[in-house]
Amino acid sequence: MTHGLNILSINGISISFGGLKALSDVNVHVMKNTVHGIIGPNGAGKSTLFNVITGLTKPDSGDIFLEGTKLPHIKPHQLVPLGISRTFQNIRLFKEMTVLDNVLIGQHVHTPTPIISILLNGRKSNEYEKISREKAIEALEFMGIEDKMNDIVKNLAYGQQRLVEFARALAAQPKIILLDEPAAGMNPTEKVNLLSIIGKLRDKGYTLILIEHDMKLVMNICDNISVLDHGKIIAQGQPEVVRKNPDFISAYLGKGENLNARNKRN
Amino acid sequence: MFMRNKSRISALIVVITIGLVLSMTGCSGGNTPSSEKVLTIGVVGPESGGSAQLGQGQHNAIQLAVDEINEQKLAGEWKLVAVFEDDEGNPTKSSSATNKLIQESKANIIIAAINSSATLADMVVTERAGIPQITPGSTGASITEQGNEWIFRTAANDSFQADALVKHAKEELGITKIATFTSADDYGQSGANLLKAAAEKYGLELVANPTYNNGDKDFKPQLMSIKDGGAEGVFLWGLYTEAALISNQVQQLGLDVQLFGASGMAAQKLIELGGDAAQGLILTQTFLPDADIPEVQEFVQKYTEKYDMDPIPHGAQAYDTVYIIANAVKNTDSSNPEELRDALRNTEGLNLVTGSPKFDEKGNDIGKRLLITEIRGDKFELIKAIEAK
């Protein structure tokens, strides 16, 4: 296994829906300041695992440790203050709002809500608002879309919407960012851009966990990979190690056709 | 192209809206004074909504009376003009309508409304403006208990009715156990109280007193509880639709009870809708189209001639109300509201469709004739007419 500081540990997570095992005894260790890929064919349990991490689904057994402390079962909105933010597989932005407002929601937990000051148009609320704006614009600049700041999100191209979602996750000032198929629907140029953004984020000290179908992208960018199949981890480690794993080859690449079909649909 | 079309339509709507708003302002001229003496009567009633049948009946009868009075110059030199507004039975809309009639149409006197809650709301407006108001339809007890000197009521006197009904049940039919089954509105609630008081007065046992909401369709649950109480007579206090349904369901449940009712449900429709089941229902009313009374016959004849349908009791009361107003304006020869009010209070010597009106100090018409009737065949048969003392 790789060295470094363990930031997120998933220990023995099992969960079943109506008798069907979705995850069984899943162990994943994510190192700080790395890009960790979770791959697997459709229905392997990747999304379930994400939902468990983000508190949307409660596991039947197993624990999650964040920087060595056990995560209690929390509500989804309590996750951001702990330092985990996410993007969604099928972009979930606030479509009728401006790009800036979307990213400002990412800032939500980091400034207080001084009700009295808001009602009186007081200095405090204006100051907080200013700080939030600065942070949000910073995130937009990082993504290179600060010029779209005042556009309504639904008018943006798909690839740009992904970036807005990314910026929103970034504005939450997380330690870990969960990316759910970030490259889905992107054209090759946008993918290259995405790769460089992910790389830059890692360089800045963020930890990223991503679910992705684009094998090339995963192999290119990830430091570590966990392969899920039928709710179980079948291979784990650095890309070059995993690539040679026989289980991985039979379970995953054997179904290459399906994989391609899916990529096309997206 | 589509876009342009769309914005054109929306522009059109905006224009219409603005036009409507302006037209409202434009109407404000009102009646310009002419050599003729004109008394404007503002009428508020529910011409749509749940009690539309009462509001429309009132509208027709008032128009009939106004036309007659003007034709035959029964109001002296005064010409009557009636302006009608719909309140949908909603108190807020009713008070807006009353405001409009007073401010815009310059009404000298207001006839309003049918629903008690609307009448109460209108009274606030007429009292503030100092304009006399007559309600021909609202029977709620609280209306004349406000200490409001501008309100008059030409509707049937409910306590008189409750008393007469309970007395009749005891003395003529020998009933000892009764139940009340009343609508949960102001009319029904005050009816229930009056019946209870009457029952105590005559020593009858009240075994059940359920209520229903207007618009209800299924009354069997309440009727079953009445059956369990062993009532011999059931007193209904509400409108005819519900009364007809109740009598139907009494029959369906095989309940062996005598049904009683009050003037609120007195309408030919009750007999039609109630059919078999309504036979034998005893009710008091102020107006009976078949009654062998010349004033009644004349009214019914004129009304059916003009509208091709039978008048409703509310209509008869509203019709009389206009005659009372005509009499008052003729006597004072003034449209000054205070003089009109005093003239109304001194109404006497009129022989109208529903009796010889006379107001007590609270504004109640205590001169109404009361008819105890029973449904036999397709009409109400008069059992007894009680003239007011």
């Binding site: 969604f88 | 749509s48 049948q53 229903y212 649950p221 309440q222 349904l245 029959q251």
Partner: protein
């Protein structure tokens, strides 16, 4: 107690039909038609006109009314829902527009048929048959029977016919149905037409016991909606069960607890059901997909 339950059945059958019409539109088109109660009223009035005024007999009245009201339903789809879908208006706009339609239909009925209640008797006896303390009329039995028969026909139609299958496909997943080449416009139309016709039947069935008035739709429509939601909006068996359930609850609450608070009890129950089992009493819980 049994008396009260028995008494709730005929009304329950009517509620079930109205609930069905709500559910059906909701499932097939994803919107709610707030003028559904007025379809009940229109059905009753048209039936009344054909049967009592034109004297064409009860069975023709039944079918003419269904057809005429179905056309009104399709008209609502054509002139209200379609333009709203085209302009991508929010769901609330459909609500307001159908409420507007309800106001129009109700007041047109007031103009056409007048404010008085009309009598529309069934050609069967209204005399009770007694069994001990229980009694029921042949009319009530007929109402329940016709209601149940119609529900069975309806269910059969959905399961077996081509149209019905298409409707079910759209109800399952509108987007996927479009991909499969199903004309959702057509399914909207069928849903509105059929629901209106079901409403018309409810109107005719309820007319003999409740009379026909221009504003009868308001109460029945709302109760039908409540029944649909309590039973499981979008599900045929759920709506039917919901209808009978609310019918019985009202009967028992009105007789045993308080007649004045009867509707308040129904609504409290509704809120409790929504709170504890948002998908309805008689439907399995569904998981929200993330």
């Amino acid at each position: 107690m049994i008396r009260y339950i028995l008494n709730g059945l005929p009304i329950g059958a009517i509620y079930a039909l109205v609930a069905l019409s709500y559910s059906f539109i909701y499932a097939a088109s994803g919107v709610l038609n707030w003028s559904q109660g007025d379809m009940v009223m229109l059905g009753a009035y048209i039936g009344f006109t054909v049967y009592q005024i034109l004297n064409l007999g009860f069975v023709p009245a039944f079918f003419i009314s269904m057809l005429a009201v179905a056309i009104v339903g399709i008209g609502i789809q054509r002139f209200i829902l379609r333009p709203l879908r085209k302009s991508n208006a929010p769901a609330i706009n459909v609500t307001i527009a159908t409420l507007g339609a309800s106001i129009i239909i109700r007041n047109l009925a007031l103009m056409i048929w007048g404010p008085d209640a009309q009598l529309f008797p069934f050609p069967v006896s209204n005399k009770p048959i007694s069994m001990g303390s229980l009694s029921i009329t042949p009319q009530d039995i007929l109402i329940v029977l016709i209601g149940i028969l119609l529900m069975i026909i309806f269910q059969y139609f959905l399961k077996k016919s081509k149209e019905g299958k298409a409707l079910r496909a759209v109800a399952q997943d509108r987007y996927a149905a479009v991909l499969m080449g199903i004309d959702t416009e057509q399914s909207d139309r069928s849903a509105f037409g059929l629901s209106a016709a079901i409403g018309a039947v409810a109107g005719i069935l309820i007319a003999p016991i409740f009379f026909v008035t221009f504003n009868m739709g308001a109460g029945i429509g709302l109760k039908g909606f409540v029944s649909a939601v309590v039973g499981g909006l979008g599900s045929v068996p759920g709506s039917i069960a919901g209808g009978f359930f609310i019918g019985i609850v009202e009967s028992v609450a009105g007789g045993k607890i308080s007649s004045g608070y009867r509707d308040a009890i129904t609504y409290t129950l509704l809120i409790l059901v929504l709170w504890l089992r948002p998908t309805g009493l008689f439907l399995k819980k569904r998981k929200q997909k993330v």
